[in-house]
C-alpha cells in the first residue's frame, strides 16, 4: 500500500510536467490546428539557458523569471520567422516545417551546450517537506509551481481582455479580425505563452531526468499522449490528461510492464486513444464542412 501511494504521488509530480507541456501543445493547437512537434525542443533550449544562468551565479528564481521572458521572446520569434510564412501552405508542408524546427532547435542546443549530461539544480530544499515520506520536496515544489502557473493562466484567459482576445482568435480568427483584434499579434502572443509554459516544464523536469539534448524526447511522448487523452483542443483536458498519464506511467511501469517498457505505455496510450476515442476524453469531435 505504501509503495502504491508512493508511486501515485511520484506520478503526480511528473504528471504536473506532462500537464504543462500538454497545455502548451493545446494552446498552439487551438490557434494553428497543428501539433507543435517542436514544443519539447523549445523547452529544452529554455532549460539550457536557465542552466547557463544558474551556473554563472545568477540566483535560481531570478534565472527562472529571466528564462520565462527569454522563452516568451523565443516563441514569438519562432512564430514570426518560421511558422507564419507557412500559414497558407498545405498541411503536409506545415508538419514538415514543425519537424524541421524540432530538429534545428535540438541541434542548436547540442551545438551550443554540448552533448554531455549535466545535473540541473532544484530550487527546493533537500529534506522532505512537512516530514512526510511519500514525496520529495522537489516533487511537491513541481506540483505547486504547476498549479500556480495554471492559476495565473486561468486568470489571464478568464479575466483580462487580452486573454479574451486570444480566446476569440483561437475560436474564430475571421470574426476577431472584423471586430478589430490584431490576429497576427495574438498568434505571436500565443506562441510566446506556450513557449514560457514549456520552459517551466523543462526547468521542473530537468532535475529529475538530468539535462542533455535528448532529455525531452521521452517527456514529449508522454505530453503528446496526455494532450490526446484529454482532447487535443481542450486545455482542461490537457491538464487532467497530464496527471492521468503521469500516474498511469508510474503504475504500469512498476506493476505491469517494468521500467524498460515505460515509454511503450505512451505509444499504447496514443494508439489506444486514437482507436477508441479520437476526440479524447474532453475534446470536441471534429467535423469538416464539405
Amino acid at each position: 500500500m505504501e509503495a502504491l501511494l508512493h508511486q501515485v504521488f511520484a506520478g503526480l509530480a511528473s504528471g504536473a510536467v506532462y500537464a504543462s507541456l500538454a497545455l502548451a501543445l493545446v494552446m498552439i493547437y487551438r490557434v494553428t490546428h497543428f501539433v507543435n512537434f517542436a514544443q519539447g525542443e523549445l523547452a529544452l533550449c529554455s532549460t539550457y539557458v536557465a542552466w547557463a544562468m544558474v551556473n554563472a551565479g545568477v540566483p535560481y528564481w531570478l534565472a527562472f523569471v529571466a528564462t520565462l521572458g527569454m522563452s516568451f521572446a523565443m516563441g514569438v520569434l519562432v512564430e514570426r520567422v518560421v511558422i507564419r510564412p507557412a500559414t497558407r501552405a498545405p498541411a503536409l508542408s506545415v508538419v514538415i516545417v514543425y519537424i524541421g524546427l524540432m530538429v534545428i532547435l535540438n541541434s542548436v542546443a547540442g551545438w551550443v551546450f554540448g552533448y554531455t549530461t549535466h545535473a540541473f539544480p532544484s530550487p527546493f530544499p533537500e529534506e522532505p517537506l512537512f516530514g512526510n515520506h511519500y514525496l520529495g520536496s522537489h516533487e511537491i515544489g513541481t506540483i505547486g509551481v504547476t498549479f500556480a502557473m495554471l492559476g495565473v493562466l486561468y486568470a489571464f484567459f478568464r479575466f483580462t481582455s487580452l486573454g479574451l482576445a486570444l480566446r476569440a482568435v483561437a475560436d474564430n480568427p475571421e470574426s476577431s479580425r472584423l471586430v478589430g483584434i490584431r490576429v497576427e499579434r495574438m498568434l505571436a502572443l500565443g506562441w510566446g505563452l506556450a513557449a514560457a509554459v514549456g520552459a517551466v516544464a523543462g526547468m521542473m523536469i530537468a532535475p529529475i531526468v538530468f539535462l542533455d539534448p535528448s532529455m525531452m524526447a521521452g517527456v514529449m511522448l508522454y505530453a503528446f499522449a496526455a494532450a490526446l487523452l484529454g482532447g487535443i483542443d481542450s486545455p482542461g483536458g490537457a491538464v487532467a490528461g497530464g496527471f492521468t498519464v503521469g500516474i498511469l506511467e508510474n503504475l504500469v511501469g512498476t506493476y505491469v510492464v517494468g521500467t524498460e517498457l515505460k515509454l511503450t505505455t505512451a505509444l499504447a496510450l496514443i494508439v489506444g486513444v486514437l482507436i477508441f476515442r479520437p476526440a479524447g476524453l474532453f475534446g470536441q469531435p471534429s467535423a469538416a464542412r464539405v
Partner: protein, 353 residues
C-alpha cells in the same frame, strides 16, 4: 507541396528522361568495377536508402500521409533478416522477401487504426513508434532473440556459383537488382488504377469516398506497401552493414528518411535516388564540422525545402531538362519561339475550402 502533377505527364512526355534513366542504370551497373571497396559500400547503401525512400514516398508523396516512424519499419526489416539468419539458419536471399512480408503485414495492421484519422494523428502515432522502437528491441523478455543492446552480427555473404567477384560486389548487384524491380513496380503502381485512387484520396478525400472508394482500406494498404519497401531496404541494409543493433533504428533514421523524401521530391519516383544520395553523403561531410551539424543541416534543409524547393531536386531536374528539351526542339524545328515545354507542370488548382 501536394503537387497536383504527379509525374505521369512530365516523365512520359520527355524522351530525355527515359534516356537519362537508362544511362543511370548502366552507370550504376558498371560502377562496382571502378570503385574502391569503401566507395562501393557507400554506393550500396545509397541503393538501399533509395528503396526505403521510395517506400516512404509512396505513403507521403503519393498518399499525402506523413510517417515519422519509418525508421522502425526499416529496423523491423533488418531484424527480420538478422533473426532469420541467426536463429533459423535461413539463406540470406530468402530473408529479403520475408522481411518485406513481415513489414507489409505489420504496416497494414499499424495503419489500420491510425489512418482512419487525419494526417496529424498518424504523424503523432508514427512518431511515438519511432521513439519507442529501440526500447522495445532492448527489452529483456526478447533479448534472447534480438540480442538486446549488443544486437546481432551477421556473417558475410558469399557470391554464388563461384562467380569471380568480391562479396561486396555481389551484394551491390543484389541490392541493385532488387531496387530495379521495386522501382519499376512502384512506377507501374503509381500509374495503375490503385495509384490513381491513392492520389485521389490525397487530393480529394471526400470526393474519393463519395464515388465509392474505401478510403480507409486503401490508406492502410498504402501504409503496408510503404512499410514493405522500407522493410526490404532494411533487410538489404542489414546484409550490407553485417550488423543490426537497436540504436541504429531510432528517431534520427526516421527523420533522415523524411529529409530524403522531401529533398528528393515528394510524389516523384526518381526523387528517391537524389534523396538517398543526400542522406548518405551529406551527414558524412557534416560530421567533420560538429556532432550537431548533420541534424542541423537536416532541420534547415527541411524548412527551406518547403519554402524554396517544394518539389525537391526531382522538380528542379525536371524543370531544367524540360527547358533544355524545349530549346533543342525549338532549334530542330527552326522556330525561334520556344514551344511550351512538355515538362511544364499542369496548372496547380487552388485547394478548395
Amino acid at each position: 507541396m501536394a503537387s497536383r502533377d504527379h509525374d505521369r505527364p512530365a516523365e512520359a512526355a520527355a524522351p530525355g528522361v527515359r534516356v537519362a534513366a537508362v544511362c543511370l542504370v548502366v552507370l550504376a551497373c558498371v560502377a562496382p568495377l571502378f570503385c574502391s571497396s569503401y566507395h562501393l559500400f557507400q554506393l550500396t547503401l545509397v541503393v538501399v536508402y533509395s528503396i526505403a525512400l521510395l517506400g516512404l514516398n509512396l505513403l507521403t508523396g503519393y498518399g499525402g500521409q506523413i510517417s515519422l516512424g519509418h525508421g522502425a519499419f526499416y529496423g523491423i526489416g533488418a531484424y527480420t533478416t538478422g533473426i532469420l539468419m541467426q536463429h533459423a539458419g535461413m539463406p540470406y536471399w530468402l530473408t529479403i522477401p520475408c522481411a518485406g512480408a513481415v513489414c507489409l503485414v505489420l504496416g497494414f495492421l499499424f495503419g489500420l487504426p491510425a489512418v482512419r484519422l487525419e494526417g496529424l494523428h498518424l504523424a503523432l502515432a508514427t512518431f511515438a513508434l519511432g521513439v519507442v522502437f529501440p526500447q522495445i528491441l532492448k527489452t529483456r523478455g526478447i533479448e534472447r532473440i534480438t540480442g538486446g543492446v549488443q544486437g546481432i552480427t551477421l556473417a558475410k555473404i558469399e557470391p554464388p556459383f563461384g562467380l569471380a567477384i568480391s562479396p561486396d560486389q555481389w551484394l551491390y548487384c543484389v541490392a541493385l537488382a532488387t531496387a530495379l524491380v521495386l522501382f519499376v513496380a512502384a512506377r507501374n503502381l503509381t500509374r495503375s488504377h490503385t495509384g490513381r485512387v491513392i492520389v485521389a484520396i490525397r487530393d480529394r478525400p471526400v470526393a474519393a469516398s463519395s464515388v465509392g472508394v474505401d478510403t480507409a482500406r486503401y490508406k492502410s494498404l498504402t501504409f503496408g506497401l510503404s512499410a514493405m519497401y522500407t522493410g526490404i531496404a532494411g533487410a538489404l541494409g542489414a546484409l550490407v552493414v553485417q550488423f543490426v543493433g537497436p540504436d541504429s533504428f531510432g528517431v534520427f533514421l526516421s527523420i533522415s528518411l523524411l529529409v530524403g523524401v522531401v529533398v528528393g521530391g515528394l510524389a516523384s519516383i526518381s526523387g528517391a535516388v537524389y534523396g538517398a544520395l543526400f542522406i548518405q553523403f551529406i551527414p558524412n561531410v557534416a560530421d567533420d564540422v560538429s556532432k550537431a551539424a548533420p541534424s542541423a543541416i537536416y532541420g534547415v534543409v527541411l524548412v527551406l525545402s518547403v519554402y524554396l524547393m517544394p518539389r525537391g531536386v526531382a522538380g528542379l531536374v525536371r524543370r531544367l531538362t524540360g527547358a533544355l528539351v524545349a530549346r533543342l526542339n525549338a532549334r530542330a524545328s527552326g522556330h525561334h519561339a520556344a514551344p511550351v515545354s512538355p515538362a511544364t507542370p499542369v496548372t496547380q488548382t487552388k485547394e478548395g475550402s
